[in-house]
Symmetry: C2
DNA sequence: CAGGATCCGAGTCGATACTG
DNA sequence: CAGTATCGACTCGGATCCTG
């Protein structure tokens, strides 16, 4: 049996799943996978994100060793974020989920329509 | 480029990631992967879950075609939930993340301690 | 430019009570 | 047994203001 104590949330798998479930974290990982970026650069790229969430998510990612932070003591201060090798491996793991999504997208959508049409039947709202 | 419109949340990948990030959904999938279960049976097994979340999560999973629901018109009503083939494929995809977690758990933990020790330095709380 | 601190609305979840 | 409906506690996330 390969799942030890999954039922009391302390299981390490949960940490990973939480990260993966985090919208912004995945997006950031995605962007940084293409190359290092600065704070406001990231902010502009993602755009939907607030400064708070960006900062917060970056800190989490940095804490987990998934992204690296490098500060340059220039005049207005320059900070560069980059993905770590570890982060890269996670990203490729997440990619397998992306693959699942793309592969089974049709089946899920079909199931949803079947469900909504069969039980809900009130599409007027 | 294999990631089309990931930035405006409509992308199907998000749906999958949200499911995977859902604590209860994964747990339910895990339990049902071992065999069909009834509502209260699931509730007892997971135990930390409220009936609201269980019911709600089951409905989501059913809607996505990941679990199946079968009601028997017995006296006190019997409902049996089971994982679908589709759900099984998702579960095995999630398993690859579990694998990642187990493999890199040490690295993540080390990074966290490094981070907490280096910047936070208040371990007394 | 990079980010901390705060306020606050919206959504989430659990506990409870009730139904078929 | 298998749920639904409601309410309150809490958390999350966005907007804003401010600092170095």
């Amino acid at each position: 049996m390969h799942y030890p104590n999954v039922f009391d949330g302390k299981c390490p798998t949960r940490v990973v799943l939480d990260r993966v479930g985090d919208k912004w974290a995945v997006l950031i990982l995605l962007l940084l996978a293409a190359g290092p970026l600065r704070f406001n650069e990231l902010r502009r790229r993602i755009d939907g994100i607030s400064q708070k969430m960006l900062s917060q998510t970056l800190k989490s990612l940095e804490r987990d060793g998934l992204v690296g932070r490098k500060a340059f003591a220039t005049v207005p201060v320059t900070v560069e974020y980059s993905i770590t090798p570890l982060g890269l491996t996670l990203y490729s793991a997440v990619d397998s989920l992306r693959l699942w999504a793309e592969t089974h997208l049709g089946e899920v959508a079909a199931a949803q329509q079947r469900y909504d049409g069969g039980q809900g039947m009130s599409e007027a709202a």
